[in-house]
């Protein structure tokens, strides 16, 4: 446990302490409410929310296709889903840039735009919802669905009334983790976004540039905001997990 406090506890404590110091850029609120920091935080939260919502739909769709459908090469597709977990994020950024960047072979150039940030975050968050929904869907008995169908419910009604309530905790915890990842991501974004202040500068890059230019107080202040968001996310995931196990017991 000493290991945990030295590796994790001490640095975090140092960060919180530093954020309360009044450095060159004034106090904590002064930095966080400065227009550049606010713009970066707003952009980060907005894009992350959009990424999380998109994943709720696409992740559920992919999980459904992987469990209920059958086609050639399904095992390969299933394996590829995990690739964003294994691939260094800086490579993810470069890879997206290779297809949708300035030298794009299909003539689509989204480099240095907010669309690019959105796209590359979709790349790195693909596995989250798929991997939390897939096992639940796998264990879900199809008998209930068949019963509903024989009673005259159409495909959409069956999904909404029978399948969705069962996989909802899975979707929610996947979405929350994807949101956390999108908030904190830097490697994938740093190459592709251009990091233009007020336009494509996300919070993590803002922190990075501040620390490089020697503004420790500024970096620490925004870093503490991200830290608080992370704690909130962990609490949410814990809550969802408890909710899910309570359903199971009933």
């Amino acid at each position: 446990m000493a290991f945990l406090s030295v590796i994790v506890g001490l640095p975090i404590a140092a960060l919180i302490a530093a954020s309360t110091h009044t450095g060159t850029s004034g106090g904590f609120w002064h930095v966080v409410s400065s227009t550049e920091a606010t713009a970066a935080l707003k952009l980060t939260l907005g894009v992350a929310a959009l990424v999380a919502l998109t994943n709720a739909v696409t992740g559920t769709l992919i999980a459904w296709v992987l469990v209920r459908d059958d086609f050639r090469g399904k095992a390969i597709v299933n394996g590829v889903i995990d690739l964003p977990f294994a691939l260094p994020t800086i490579v993810a950024g470069l890879v997206v840039l290779a297809l949708y960047g300035p030298r794009s072979p299909i003539g689509v150039n989204i480099a240095f735009t907010r669309t690019a940030i959105f796209g590359v975050l979709l790349f790195v968050t693909v596995p989250f919802v798929v991997r939390t929904v897939q096992p639940v869907l796998h264990e879900l008995d199809t008998e209930m669905e068949e019963a509903a169908r024989s009673l005259g419910a159409n495909g959409f009604t069956v999904f909404r009334r029978i399948v969705l309530p069962n996989i909802l905790p899975g979707i929610l915890s996947g979405v929350t983790m994807a949101f956390a990842r999108a908030i904190g991501e830097i490697g994938a974004i740093v190459i592709i976004s251009g990091n233009l202040p007020y336009k494509t500068e996300v919070a993590s890059v803002f922190i990075f540039l501040r620390i490089q230019s020697g503004d420790q107080a500024g970096a620490a202040a925004v870093a503490v905001v991200l830290l608080a968001i992370s704690f909130a996310i962990l609490l949410t995931v814990g809550g969802i997990r408890r909710l899910a196990t309570r359903y199971e017991r009933v």
Partner: protein, 265 residues
């Protein structure tokens, strides 16, 4: 029904090719744009080789430490009963939800010139920031949870009956762990080690803050990708990326083979 099923299948595969598969295919195309020899020359660069060495060194220290910690922590969370258990549980998960940049900044503030340890470190002439120790610390932090996260559910599932049986037959705590507990969680440990390794090799954000990315000194493989890209040396950037991607594919294959084992254990 079958028409809507095919529609859903096409939608899912279409999304995946647009977001995931298309870009990945382009990586191979770009890396070999100048042939195999071009990609090889790009990799056979003094600073690039050094960058891979730094990454490997950090991983070689971080992976065993985190494996040991992961097993101990898993045992403490599942078997232990003490105050502050919930707190440990939360802190172990923190690196999963926290931005690597925040990790980097925290280490920077702790070991930097004006940090808590800064004064002592300068006095004793110990270099942590912009040197290997900080890279190792950052790598350990970000890859901390993976072994513990895999071990915890497995420990819960196997229960304590066998361990208690061993105890009553006179086995010591160490013997019980070595002969009973470890063999039954070994696949979970191996799976966790694979994930930890992947995370160590791919770390960028935290290391970018603390290492200073000094070429030929503290530059890791992922930092080298950025450096090459910013110097407009695309062959180099895509070459290193391809090498890292191939490692990722190996990790993926290992994961696929280990998963059934983990469920059986």
């Amino acid at each position: 029904m079958s028409r809507s099923r095919i529609g859903l299948r096409l939608a899912a595969l279409g999304y995946l090719s647009l977001i995931l598969l298309g870009p990945l295919a382009m990586l191979f195309y770009r890396a070999f744009a100048h042939g195999v020899s071009g990609a090889w020359t790009a990799l056979n660069d003094k600073d690039t080789i050094h960058a891979f060495k730094v990454t490997l060194e950090a991983a070689c220290i971080a992976v065993p430490l985190n494996t040991l910690f992961g097993i101990l922590c898993g045992l403490a969370i599942v078997r232990g009963n003490f105050r502050g258990k919930g707190l440990i549980n939360a802190f172990v998960d923190l690196p999963l939800a926290l931005s690597p940049v925040v990790v980097g900044v925290s280490l920077f503030l702790l070991y930097g010139r004006t940090g808590w340890f800064g004064h002592w470190l300068i006095g004793n002439n110990v270099q942590v920031l912009f040197a290997l120790p900080s890279i190792v610390l950052a790598t350990i932090f970000v890859s901390l949870p993976f072994v513990a996260r895999e071990v915890v559910p497995t420990l819960r599932e196997i229960g304590q009956e066998q361990e208690q049986a061993a105890y009553t037959l006179g086995a010591s705590g160490w013997q019980t762990f070595w002969r009973i507990t470890l063999p039954s969680i070994r696949w979970a440990v191996i799976y966790g080690v694979v994930l930890t390794t992947a995370r160590c090799l791919g770390e960028y954000g935290a290391v970018a803050v603390v290492s200073g990315s000094i070429q030929g000194k503290t530059e890791t493989a992922t930092l080298r990708v950025q450096e090459e890209y910013e110097n407009l040396n695309y062959a180099g950037a895509y070459g290193i990326s391809l090498a890292l991607a191939l490692i990722a594919v190996l990790v993926l294959v290992a994961m696929t083979f280990l998963k059934p084992h983990e469920k059986a254990a």
